[in-house]
Symmetry: D2
Subunit: 308 residues, 4 copies
């Protein structure tokens, strides 16, 4: 049985034994930075992940980070992004998900803090203008609310704004509850069909968009059936029973529990509404830093407020 996770790093234990996967972990202070690079098609299939680079920044209690940790996280994110972005050209930021559903609102919440500049060329002082990279930002909504496939709408925006690259932000589903709001994943594979809390139907990738697509995601939920499954595995383990022998029984049972009552239920922190706002502001500030390396933090902060 495939356990769904949108985090490549959660397949690491598996990945380490597969050819065509490179993993490494760096620790700086409270932040753990993990790189998983999937290089071969075989590895991609084995892990059910697209070929490409997946970088995660993890920090226990990210949402309650103090000033120094927040700053370290923003700089780490900025630095990861700089490594993936093209050096020149406008950038389009897409905030995915449904802003009316907290667990799916990360994308639109991040957009609230982005310094949008593409339209500023004629309205700000010369001294700043020469140092601005063009940034535009769109929250395309979700299929159930717009009646339009997200990828289809994004494609229309790309064709009209002609950016050099696209950054898509999305809420993810993880396998372990302690990843929720503590891990940021950045990948150059874009958004894949079936991923995210909202389960995208079409991909937003370099292939479909014709430009590089970087995806930034943070786990917001674990599907309740995953928790049930993990509990069962631990129990068997604890009882000294053989996992593999009981695999079919476990699967059948999880299916029964899921069908009976867990359906679309998710596990999430009770106060997820508050957490998502804090994580969103860390991501927005990290993005602003990466996209506007020639502005000071104060200039970014002032312009971001003015442009609202």
């Amino acid at each position: 049985m495939q356990i769904r996770t949108d985090l490549a790093m959660e397949s690491r234990h598996l990945a380490e034994n597969i050819q065509g996967v490179n993993c490494k972990t760096i620790r700086h202070g409270a932040i753990e930075e993990t790189h998983v690079i999937i290089e071969s098609d075989e590895a991609a299939e084995a892990l059910s992940k697209a070929k490409g680079t997946y970088i995660t920044l993890s920090c226990e209690g990210m949402w309650q980070a103090d000033v120094a940790e927040r700053s370290a996280l923003m700089h780490a994110l900025s630095s990861v992004l700089k490594g993936l972005l093209p050096p020149f050209g406008d950038i389009l930021i897409i905030g995915l998900g449904n802003r009316h559903i907290t667990a799916d609102a990360l994308g639109s919440r991040v957009l609230e803090g982005i310094l949008v500049t593409r339209h500023m060329k004629n309205v700000i002082s010369d001294s700043i203008q020469g140092r601005l990279r063009g940034v535009c930002a769109v929250a395309p909504g979700v299929l159930g609310i717009t009646g339009i496939e997200t990828a289809e709408m994004v494609k229309g925006v790309v064709e009209h704004t002609r950016p050099a690259a696209l950054i898509a932000i999305d809420a993810l589903a993880a396998r372990e509850a302690n990843r929720i709001c503590t891990t940021i994943q950045v990948t150059d594979t874009g958004i894949l069909p079936g991923s995210g809390v909202g389960n995208h139907r079409l991909g937003i990738t370099r292939e479909t968009m014709g430009i590089p697509v970087i995806a930034i995601g943070v786990p917001m939920v674990v599907y309740a059936s995953v928790i049930a499954r993990d509990g069962l595995s631990m129990l068997l383990d604890d009882m000294g029973m053989d996992q593999e022998a009981h695999e079919p029984a476990i699967e059948a049972l999880v299916k029964k529990i899921s069908a009976r009552e867990l359906g679309d239920m998710v596990v999430t922190p009770r106060e997820v509404d508050v957490l998502v706002g804090r994580v969103a502001s860390i991501i927005a500030e990290g993005l602003n830093m990466a996209l506007q390396p020639r502005l000071s933090e104060e200039e970014i902060s002032l312009l971001t407020h003015d442009s609202m």
Copy 2:
């Protein structure tokens, strides 16, 4: 191990074998109405619930009820409430919980639809005035945001407004996920310490307030550790193993899982933000009907909008 649930009806299977508990279930259409009356101190202790009457209205898919079902639910709720309310005097409605946290926002969401009339005595037409019952409504906030115990604040309002009874609305924790947003519990026991999604520290009861206290609640979450525990029980059952013999092992395991990663995690429908709004409007309309029996539904609707 005590499994937490705020719903008396979830202890029914247990209750049926205890002296001093009366249970009955009535079915009208899609709605199941259950009465659990705890009459003796022994029964109260056995069930970890206060003595008193607990009435639940359940309806699968309550949040997507069609017009006829919605109407049936509102009338059923209104009828239950009329049986518990004093015949005369002002009523104070308290919306408990934290409106910034979706799973805990039921109380404040219900208040948005309540027809508040206590201040209208001199401002509306004579024809309506003679038919109005005085209603006031307060969302006292939560301790973490106000710095004041909810019960302490409510007590101050009661002393200044001198209502004949108090109705408190709160989000509950259930034991089974399929109760979430499908069951409304009404009880004359008030709000007990330790209950609700927000875990009240002091009670709001007839004893502390000096007037009858009716509590209306709807399950919004199941604690994730409960789901894990249920999964384990089912597994043992399935494997033909004896539950009781393994009880200590299960308990130890659930504690381990909870400590490791489930902590304050809850299981909730992904789209709980949308569901809570729909259930809140059913409760608000049922309350308005019960409190203003001499107004037509249209008069209630018009006055509710005007008073905003």
Copy 3:
């Protein structure tokens, strides 16, 4: 001096004496329906309005209409729209404006009540499916927040969804404060540059989009300088002085007042936040009726909730 108004009917007194303009007013109950048809280029220039049909529905106290008036308004709006819509093909609804600024949020508020169906073709029962018109809906945001011209973004959506017509909803500026939230204007001229509370820079019209564009608007503000100017005219009138002789003095004074302190100030009802929600729901329901003539009101209501 040009006094800005987005309502063609406020130019009626002027229009009545111009060749190439047809005006008529029908009254049904509390609703006044006005038609202004601008037929010649000369008339269009004299009135600073595009050639086309402008229909307004006015109802004093629209936001506090009772059930019968609300229903009459929704039916009147539906009937006006049916006269302008093409008989077949998908419809794209665009909610213009900035949802973070109350006076400019009408467009996004209306979208919240629209029954979106374009994506439902495979997910609902056959019995309903055959009777659905395809509707999709987008809130493109504003230039200051997205960095992208609204018209440019809408063009991208039109190209990818290929609707038969587009309906754009926008908050308007009026000349008289008593028009605020009491008048709905429907026009086949689309959205013109410089119109709306948000002052669109590019038009969204049949010419730019390649399909019919119907605009629905409601006045939400009067620019404060307009109020000042009207006061001055009344004063001169009252004092028996000749308006025309003092025209230059008045203009100079209004400019002085505006520059000194009125700048971008608007006149608006104190409780505009509440009013906009009520007017938006009338428009959304009128639109749903016009777009889904083969569904009953209850079917529309149920599907609208389910699709959220």
Copy 4:
């Protein structure tokens, strides 16, 4: 005719010629600090203001202040407050107004940024605990929504929490549009009947509450009739006509305009929704500084987030 303003400093020109009024103005950088002290009953009556001290901090473009100006404003506010607060004892902060109406939402918006500590005594580290002043905070809502007089509800909270002083925050009406969101008034007179955007019916003062009451207010609107009146005065002035001789004509005219269409209309910046958030955060941070002089700014910031 009495022109309504809640700002004492707008009566200054008048005040300067009245015995029993002391005025002074200090300028520090971009901030103008004005003190108006009304000492005699005669002066109070002449100015229609209660006896007491009124201090205003004005800063053009306060809502777009840069980091240095923001910091200067917060320190200036903190310093003014320290001069008025009792040295020891808990402080109760009341956020007045209707949070659903932007122009009246200042009070509840400020509360979102307040560090509430009264309940923390047992939950935080010893090192911080000894340095905390007890603060609690309540948004009592408005009469139309609760059915309870604000003053009545506040009185109940005061009796149960026994603070040493009360700070009430409210949105004000000014006489001049350029005061909107650019001036903070602090006064030891409390909240007077008839003041504020919401027009309080009963006062919240030392007399009614039994403890010192400090009021903090920011103008959010000018009544539209005031703008009309000012325009007329300027016109007469411009035309070289005698104001006093025409006073009755002006008054009659303003009444006519107001009755005909201005009613409850207010003049406000189009983007007031955004401005109120920025001003609220300046006030919240200034309050936190004044109330917690023994905490660093970073400690305040961390604790404020944690307590949400």
